[in-house]
């Protein structure tokens, strides 16, 4: 039985790819700012953005070989911690088709994969939607 999409104040549709522009940083900054104001937020990723929460990323980026003692968190960890900080107010969805197409079907357990044909349910469950980037 599919769970209903929770009602949120804002849906951020993160469609642009990581490692191209500062879009992911802006999206996470905006999500964090909305959460600081008490808002309920959902994020839907499509395209290469589905890789942000791929399980294969683990908790840390590969070591910086010029500074081996310093750890750098992976995006999967950054997202996981943001969700864990706001368990009833932040929901992260991943387009199943895009994730499978990019070999990222295995996702961290804190996010949910969804079929693309239910996307409009998420738009309808949010008071505002912002589409960020293209895939």
């Amino acid at each position: 039985m599919p769970r209903p999409v929770p009602r949120t104040d804002v849906l951020l549709n993160l469609f642009g790819a990581p490692h191209q522009t500062d879009l992911v940083t802006s999206a996470l900054r905006l999500a964090a700012a909305l959460l600081r104001r008490g808002a309920r937020v959902q994020i839907w990723t499509c395209g290469d953005a589905t890789r942000l929460t791929g399980a294969a990323l683990g908790d840390a980026k590969p070591r910086d070989y010029t500074d081996l003692g310093r750890e750098h968190p992976s995006t999967a960890r950054v997202v996981r911690e943001l969700i864990e900080d706001h368990p009833d107010r932040l929901y992260w969805y991943v387009c199943r088709f895009c994730a499978e197409e990019r070999g990222a079907a295995e996702q961290i357990p804190q996010v949910r994969t969804r079929a693309p044909f239910v996307f409009a349910e998420h738009v309808n469950a949010a008071d505002k939607s912002l589409l960020m980037g293209v895939c």
Binding site: D9, V10, T21, D22, L23, S26, R29, L30, A32, A33, L34, R36, R37, A39, D127, K128, L130, L131, M132, G133
Partner: protein, 108 residues
């Protein structure tokens, strides 16, 4: 009349795409809508005088210009080098604006 929060992230180096979006912002302002144009990421350089002609048109049509403090600092861009009508804001200001019920937001 609808209140708009328009967000430009590409900036003048994206060429006609940026100018067209600034044109969209100016048209909405000219039509009497309340428009805030928020420049973020590489988009902040549009607030440097002479880099994006559409900004002056937008401002003269009654629009309000916001510039992301974080993105400007990343590029060592001080307030004194921006068009005088630009207002440096934090993402918290943008979140507050976005949460206003009457505001529609568009990201570019």
């Amino acid at each position: 009349m609808t209140a708009h929060l328009l967000i430009e992230s590409g900036g003048p180096q994206t060429g006609p795409a940026c100018e067209r979006f600034l044109g969209d912002a100016a048209r909405l302002a000219r039509d009497g809508h309340q428009v805030v144009l928020f420049l973020v990421e590489n988009g902040v350089t549009a607030a440097v005088p002479g880099t994006a002609p559409g900004i002056e048109t937008f401002l003269s049509d009654g629009g309000e210009l916001w510039v992301d403090t974080f993105s400007a600092a990343q590029r060592a861009l001080p307030a004194a080098d921006l068009t005088p009508r630009a207002r440096l804001v934090d993402m918290d200001d943008v979140a507050a604006r976005l949460l206003e019920p009457r505001v529609r937001a568009v990201w570019h």
